[in-house]
Symmetry: C2
Subunit: 711 residues, 2 copies
């Protein structure tokens, strides 16, 4: 396996000039300084540097060399790979730039082909190298970080560099680091797969700007996240081109919402900033998430020696959903046995500036009896013995077995204490607020992994449409074409008319109301009678999208006369359009209206959207979104996560909606694009939800043009 040879090579060749000041010289120095011994320089002058001997060709080295670090000029990289391949190299780090990132796609393609010919897997080109601390292997220009359990995989070398540098400064141990640059060969998916099994890695930190194979990426994240936390920064808005291809319902949320859903559904923890990423990795590296006893509504005790920062941490904790309850009377009684009278026994528990090693130790041990996690704050002054307080905290953390985080500050005067804390497995954060934020996300991860429906999610991946890769791209183009046509009001052959669409929904188990399609006034009257008054009548025409605006909807028709005149009015109002007839439905009033939508994302394929109808989606953008399909549990969460959910639960004396039927329908609906890959866009809006059951009120479907049958 070539990734293994990247991280654990028997020998490394640095290919390119190693003259002083050159990139190769820097890299070689980094490798030699790091303590890796089997390193050789390869360049036309056979020049060596530091302790590394020089050779003209990798084939001349005469020792096993599994990996090459390539810093040679752009134009020579292909030749270099060939030479390396002949020498038995099977993995390469191509630091050299000047390829696809500057438009040189041909050059990158040549490099890929050369590598393939020799079975060489590589990272780059245009990458910042890699690190494997357990092998003292540092073929990179970034800082040498300390060893530990966090693997950092970054599309951007600089983001990785910031993390490894902070790792050194703030005490975070790194197992492996890889920056894959242009990702011409190995990318985030390969590394996720590799790291899932890497015993040296407890936590994976990932920085991506995009992924091209959405479903494959999700699968790799899911498999890794099932075994260890995966913390992700997804940066960069997708380009305007990509955004334009998203359908109406999809674009209401934005392409970023699709990534958000995909990451969440795969069990990754998404963060927005490098600081959050760093904090969370530190938390996971020190604290076992399984230690969080009661993850939903984590009950946290804040023990401090200073009021203000304690209150700030408590405020933030409450805001992000932690439970900052006061200690029980029993615990208060225990605390008051050894704490002085001036200590506040609420939560935060304020030991005041007189808090000692012993009072920290005893207080933490006492509150550990009824809290899930503890934050120990020490706002030090220069004359305080912070190392002693750290001892108290660490003792209590060890003895109690509960997750304990610390925020000892300000920085410089507590440096020694922070080292002590982290050496003893207690993560220290820059502020109390950042500590509680990390605890919260850790608890959420634990909640996700402990959920029973994890196994249920397994079937998810298998339901995706088989020829995904190029297909979604094709679909995306189809959607954008459809939208263009719609905007122009012209031909819309991809759109199914309402009678067929309703029939098709019914065949597929989606609850539709009774309906009749009528092409004449007489038939309309007959249809109305069959449905039973009062009824609703709606125009059917391929030319008309917004029926109401055209006077194409008549509500509350109560008798035959009204039915006749409604038909005639509709016919008149759309004169000059392609009038096909009318749909007749029972009149439904007073039931809450929801919408369900399907759209195609170019990266992730079908996505499903749920929301309340009307202004809730169009104005308030109060919707939930998932990469389809949604299983039953996911559907329930989708329904509950919209802000307006209380409306569905029944407010102001209204009965609750049939949430079971709603969730069932959402699951069924979200599977349709896998049974019918020709669906490009499907909106059910509104869906009327009753206290028992539910029915679709209107449907709009766009299929791919080439295919015209519905099943």
């Amino acid at each position: 396996m070539s990734i293994q040879q990247l991280f654990y090579p028997r020998g490394v060749a640095v290919v390119g000039s190693v003259s002083e000041g050159k990139l190769g010289w820097e890299v070689l120095r980094k490798i030699v300084d790091g303590g890796y011994e089997h390193v050789y320089a390869v360049n036309p002058k056979a020049q060596g540097a530091f302790s590394a001997p020089g050779f003209k060709s990798a084939t001349e080295i005469g020792q096993p060399v599994d990996m090459a670090v390539i810093v040679a000029p752009t134009a020579t990289v292909t030749t270099v790979l060939e030479d390396c391949g002949q020498a038995g190299v099977r993995a390469a780090v191509i630091i050299t730039a000047g390829f696809s990132e500057v438009g040189n796609h041909a050059g990158e393609s040549e490099v890929k082909q050369a590598a393939q010919r020799y079975g060489i897997r590589f990272i780059g080109p245009n990458c910042a190298g890699l690190v494997n601390t357990s092998q003292h292997l540092y073929p990179t220009l970034e800082t040498h970080p300390p060893a530990g359990g966090v693997a950092v995989i970054a599309q951007s070398g600089a983001v990785g560099g910031v993390i490894t540098a902070w790792a050194t400064e703030f005490g975070l141990g790194i197992s492996k680091f890889a920056s894959y640059g242009n990702g011409a060969d190995l990318n985030e998916i390969d590394f996720l797969r590799y790291l899932a099994d890497d015993a040296e890695t407890q936590v994976v930190a990932l920085y991506i700007e995009s992924t091209s194979k959405g479903r494959e990426f999700m699968r790799a994240v899911r498999e890794c996240a099932a075994r260890k936390p995966v913390v992700v920064i997804k940066a960069g808005r997708t380009g305007s081109g990509q955004r334009a291809t998203l359908s109406h319902t999809g674009s209401m949320a934005g392409a970023d919402a699709v990534y958000d859903a995909a990451l969440r559904q795969s069990g990754a923890i998404r963060v927005r900033t490098v600081e959050e990423l760093f904090d969370l990795c530190k938390g996971f590296a020190c604290l076992d998430p399984k230690g969080f006893g009661n993850p939903s509504g984590l009950k946290v005790a804040i023990v401090t020696n200073s009021g203000g920062p304690g209150v700030l941490a408590a405020d933030h904790a409450e805001e992000i959903g932690l439970d900052v309850a006061e200690p029980s009377p029993a615990i208060k009684a225990k605390l008051s046995e050894f704490l002085p009278a001036h200590c506040a026994l609420k939560n935060p528990i304020d030991l005041t500036v007189e808090g000692t090693e012993d009072s920290y130790r005893k207080t933490l041990l006492t509150v550990a009896e009824e809290y899930d996690a503890i934050l120990a704050l020490n706002i030090a002054t220069p004359y305080l013995d912070s190392v002693a307080l750290a001892r108290g905290v660490c003792d209590a953390a060890r003895q109690s077995g509960k997750p304990v985080a610390a925020a000892f500050l300000p920085q410089r005067i507590v440096a020694e204490a922070v080292d002590y804390l982290q050496a003893h497995g207690v993560p220290n954060f820059a502020t109390g607020e950042r500590a509680v934020a990390a605890l919260t996300r850790m608890a959420q991860y634990q909640e996700f992994t402990s959920q029973a429906h994890h196994s249920e999610r397994a079937h998810f991946a298998s339901e995706e449409s088989p020829s995904h890769g190029t297909e979604t791209l094709r679909f995306a183009h189809a959607v954008s074409a459809a939208l263009r046509r719609r905007a122009m009001g012209s031909d819309r052959s991809g759109q199914l008319l309402e009678p067929q669409a309703m029939a098709w929904l019914r065949e597929n188990g989606i609850p539709t109301p009774e309906f009749r399609f009528a092409e004449t006034a007489d038939r309309a009257v007959q249809g109305c009678r069959e449905i039973g008054y009062p009824v609703v009548m709606k125009v059917v025409s391929p030319d008309i999208l917004h029926k109401s605006e055209w006077g194409g909807v008549k509500l509350d028709i109560r008798d035959d006369a009204a039915a006749t005149s409604a038909f005639e009015a509709i016919q008149t109002s759309v004169i000059g359009k392609d009038f096909r007839g009318v749909m007749i439905y029972p009149m439904i009033r007073g039931a809450p209206e929801v919408l369900m939508g399907l759209a195609r994302d170019p990266q992730f394929g079908p996505v499903v959207v749920f929301g309340l109808g009307g202004i809730h989606t169009e104005v308030l953008r109060d919707i939930s979104l998932r990469v389809a399909p949604a299983d039953r549990t996911e559907a329930e969460v989708m329904i509950r996560e919209i802000r307006a959910f209380p409306i569905l639960e029944g407010t102001r004396g209204q009965p609750p909606c049939d949430l079971d039927a709603l969730a069932d329908m959402l699951v069924n609906f979200s599977r349709l694009p896998f049974r019918y890959p020709e669906i490009v866009e499907l909106d059910l809006n509104p869906v009327f939800v009753f206290s028992k059951g539910l029915v679709v009120g209107d449907v709009r479907m766009i299929r791919e043009e080439k295919s015209n049958d519905t099943g």
Copy 2:
């Protein structure tokens, strides 16, 4: 003026033991180490320490002593103050604890009285001291910060300590620091007033957990914020007792929302964390907010030498409302004259790792031509000359005159460059995200201060009810009593019945619909005729709060027969209750419904709430709130800031609402509690808003019990 004597004393007495290791010894050492010379020790042993001579009494010093720092035992503080007073001391820093914070209110009261007798103003007790860097005066246990333009006022000494310690570590200059502890005498209001005029202070950083005199606090903030930025952390949820006294509409937002509104209305910038506070102070200390040319929608250029962190900064900038537009073709053309082809000329502008001092300088100068502000990112590697890049950035900042912020990272390897940046007036932030966050808040401040309606706000303060202090407390009690009664369903003498309330509203210029009050069926029919069918009929009874639930509301009554039977049905349905008659209104349908509410906050007095009716307030909590009264501009902002505002603008073919009439009414409504101080709570819900004009649909008013007339 005593605050002047606190910060600029001619001599300082440290009163309390100065034996080695004692608090007094530490404080004295801090003062002497800081370089302040006129310091004396006062204690029973007449013991001196360091360079300070010792005396038994302050009266024996024989030199001018304006200020005393008291670290003597709790029980002796009163005597100490008397001794100091006799010696001519006029200002004191009482560090000694053991007073109201542990329930010793009597002791604190004695201290206050003693100080008053001698005209001594003081901070504390239980405070962490003060700092005046320009005088080298450090009577505090906290770190000695470097001198500069930021004043830090903190209820919590520890929060102040964190800021002053970070100031040392991350290069922020402090003018003055004061921690006022229990605030028995001087508090945040006094310091705001003082600092407004303090020439050494450019920015005020304030940490409070509460304020007792809401309106006075607002005035002090406003006067200070008009002259320099005031950055505030308001921490701590107000206690459950206080929350309970808030009225229904008020408590929907929570007491914290009142502080939020009060701070915003006063021009303060509220932040949530110490890191934000610190970043923003740094920004203001370095950059003149007047430099932000186009504050609404600040257009920012991000110049970086590394893609990833640039993208992260751009993402965050867009999320918080900055404009990260691409450079114009003209600017791109200019850039491409001197930048290599591999540089990305979008925004972020990526100079790549090859970015030099000169390319930073030229790029910044070029983009300064069309951007309001610039962020210069340098993600350094150990072999990069970051100081050179800093030079390029600083040169461009100086020459362009535009606000330039930097994020040079990671920390350690750029330390020298960061010092260079900050010495040359370019603030450096920990990450690009934090830099753009600070820029955004600075631009918002500039927008506030530059708004023309600033003068209009002046009248605001004068409208408050005169006897504010005890009165609001009284009101609060009345509200809580009223709420209790209401919960119990018993006597509600404070509540005005609908006929009187509607009449009263009309007298006060609030648009009400035509209405009739009728006590019998005959009169009801007559009233219906006068109003004109269709009408609405509603029960009037002091016993019934939720009329609909009692069957006390009949809609769409279309003729005399229906009117008679509606009256009878209402009468029957409320049998056993105190039935007074019915109100008759014209039937209004299809108009958007808003609500306006007034409530009393114990700290700030009358607050006004606006929202859309129905589920928007009750379920979605989509409301805006201000400390009353709201002027016209503020009313417009209130109306526009609810999420559902687009509904009022007209969606889905609906005409826009009469926003002018709505704003006028909101202004008028928000002034009512100043004309009628007996109003405890007033809800207009719904108010129907038409495309021309608007009317109240229902009213509920609770007045203070003692006063029974309405004007």
